[in-house]
Amino acid sequence: MTPALTGADIRGRHLRRRQARDRLMRALLWCSALAAVTPLLLLLMFVVREGLPAFRPSLFTEVPRPLGESGGGVKPAVVGSLIMVGLGTFIGVPIAILAGVYAREYAGSRLATVIRFLIDVLAGVPSITIGLFVYGLLVAPMHTFSGLAGAVALAILIVPTVARVTDEMLALVPRSVREAAYALGVPRWKTIARVVLPSAKVGIATGVVLGVARIAGETAPLLFTALGNRTVSTSLVRPMDALPLRIYVYATGPYRSWHQQAWAASLLLVLLVLGFSLITRLLLRRRAPGPD
């Protein structure tokens, strides 16, 4: 062993140290990926484990029992969620798609930036403040909490998601498509409505599905608008229940049967969200092999 180090030795040791650090950092990055997926896996595991025992038909067909009595179900919440999410989608999606069309097809580039910016701003508004807004807009003047107010709050929440996706999807429609139509003398609006939008329909549908999945799980904006209902109600001018509201009440309560039903209702919501996400994946994969 020679005491003196050659340049090659130093470079070699230096290189080894660099490679060791490289390996370490790569390992850490793998770890962070693991850390990122673990919560989801744990959450899914527990939702399935705790939710399955109460995941029975009676969960969907029965109304809540009086406090302290076991049994019953969350039918009012299932019905209410269907109505409010449906109506919220029905109100919000057309506005969102048309706003997306305006941003991409009509606005000048500067105005488009403004619209896009506004859409992003709306996406960033905390959902609880939307609840406050709709309370002032509908609940206080109508003198009743209502399914309508809940649906409007959800409609506001779905707009940014769908508008943004519409905007992005329209951008992917090749310019040549529009030019071909223009060249044949098709008016611009007809080109958009009959040629451009249909070519982007799969992508837009993806956005709608994502938006529906998002609003189906929203609780905060419903606290002051739909309020909740322990009986099955289909009236839009009366308080209405929703699955997330019911989960919130049941999760923070003391009763064992409430907890079981909260888990089961969560399982339903999670299945819905997972299912929707998988659908969008499939839609997107079918659409194009390009980067996603």
Binding site: P66, G68, A140, T144, N229, R230, S233, S235, V249, T252
Partner: protein, 395 residues
């Protein structure tokens, strides 16, 4: 379109109610809690002349042909009782009536009643003069039921029953008593070996009548509490976690070793949590039970004023077996409702009419104390004064 639908509903319900009224008008029975009426109309009634005047007490099942959805919100303490009787009412009396009650806390009941967003509010504390003024329309405080504020705790592997003096309770929530084996708790429980476990006092994060009754009790018995915290629906808590509603506090106590909380009795018992005995004015440690609550009620309610506003905490020493933290829940009603709400209001008043009579008998099975006959009489007068569009709802 909506108004048309509402009108049709109103017409249907009004017609139904009228028919029911004619059928059973002779079947009046004095209306005391002790004599439940038959659940169906009596055929014999058809023969008698419809001479019903306001002095005649209508049958308790007067609302059996109503069809409406009634919305109420407020007190979480009455929720177990109200959900039970609403369920029975819909099953056995009026199939077409659903009572949608949201337990958002007494503060919420008062707030939403004031905002006129619900048909009725429910609160464990009557409306103050100022609150009634703010509403700007005549309102009624209608008592429904009595109950006890239980001091409940969660000490793992601990079987003994604990006793608390008011100053100990105040000390725990003020944060002066930090461990379960504190000398103050030992003094109340000389023969019990207490663990060296931190105490976590839980309180209500929402505006709560349970809090109001509990803090009124403490303010009335502990000068320290009165000067530092005071009494209210929601006070400036010195420490500890807050749970939403009686449900939330019960859940927190259940999930936390070393926790102590105050909730309506049935929440504690339904969840198998132990409840402590509390020292009353006579110096006795009394457990919250049906009997001890009824004793507490008897001390005050006999002298209840005509406006039905009273508190039953700290009954005098002349009632040695009374539990010191009794409470009542009031239903908050407007004296006059708009005619557009006719069907809802009729269904609601009929339901409460049934609730103060037949409904009371379901109280004891879930640890509430029914109202005394004297009080029911006073409540009858209040319910009869309610009008919809100027017309009285009850005959």
């Amino acid at each position: 379109m909506l108004t048309i639908r509402r009108r049709i509903f109103a017409a249907l319900a009004a017609g139904g109610a009228l028919a029911a009224l004619l059928l059973v008008s002779a079947c009046s029975n004095g209306g005391s809690a002790a004599t439940p009426t038959s659940q169906t109309g009596t055929p014999a009634a058809t023969g008698t002349s419809p001479a019903a005047t306001s002095s005649v007490t209508p049958p308790t099942n007067i609302g059996k042909d109503d069809k409406a959805q009634v919305t109420g919100a407020g007190s979480t303490a009455i929720f177990p009782f109200l959900s039970k009787i609403a369920d029975i009412y819909q099953k056995d009396v009026a199939k077409g009536v659903s009572i949608n009650y949201q337990s958002i806390g007494s503060g919420g009941g008062i707030a939403q009643f004031t905002q006129k967003t619900v048909d009725f509010g429910a609160s464990d504390i009557y409306l103050s003069d100022k609150q009634m003024q703010d509403i700007g329309a005549p309102v009624l405080n209608v008592p429904m039921i009595h109950w006890a504020v239980a001091v409940t705790y969660n000490i793992p592997n601990f079987k003994s029953e604990l006793r608390f003096s008011p100053s100990t309770i105040a000390g725990i929530w003020l944060g002066n008593i930090k461990k379960w084996n504190d000398p103050a708790i030992k003094a109340d429980n000389p023969n019990v070996s207490l663990p060296d476990l931190p105490i976590t006092p839980m309180h209500r994060s929402d505006g709560s009548g349970t809090t109001m009754n509990f803090t009124s009790f403490l303010a009335g018995t502990s000068p320290d509490w009165k000067s530092k915290v005071g009494a209210g629906l929601s006070v400036n808590w010195p420490q500890g976690p807050g749970g939403k509603g009686s449900e939330g506090v019960t859940a927190l106590v259940k999930q936390t070793a070393g926790a102590i909380g105050y909730v309506e009795l049935s929440y504690a018992l339904q969840n198998n949590l132990p409840v402590g005995a509390v020292k009353n004015a006579a110096g006795n440690y009394v457990k919250p039970t049906l009997q001890s609550t009824t004793d507490a009620v008897a001390a005050t309610v006999a002298t209840a004023p005509a406006d039905l506003r009273f508190l039953i905490v700290n009954p005098p020493a002349s009632h040695p077996d009374a539990y010191p933290i009794g409470a009542s829940t009031w239903v908050l009603l407007y004296k006059d409702y708009p005619a557009s709400k006719s069907s809802e209001v009729k269904a609601m008043v009929h339901f409460f009419w049934w609730a103060i009579h037949d409904g009371q008998k379901y109280a004891t099975s879930i640890d509430y104390s029914p109202m005394a006959p004297d009080l029911v009489k006073k409540v009858e007068v209040a319910l009869k004064s309610i009008t919809v569009g100027g017309q009285p709802v009850l005959p």
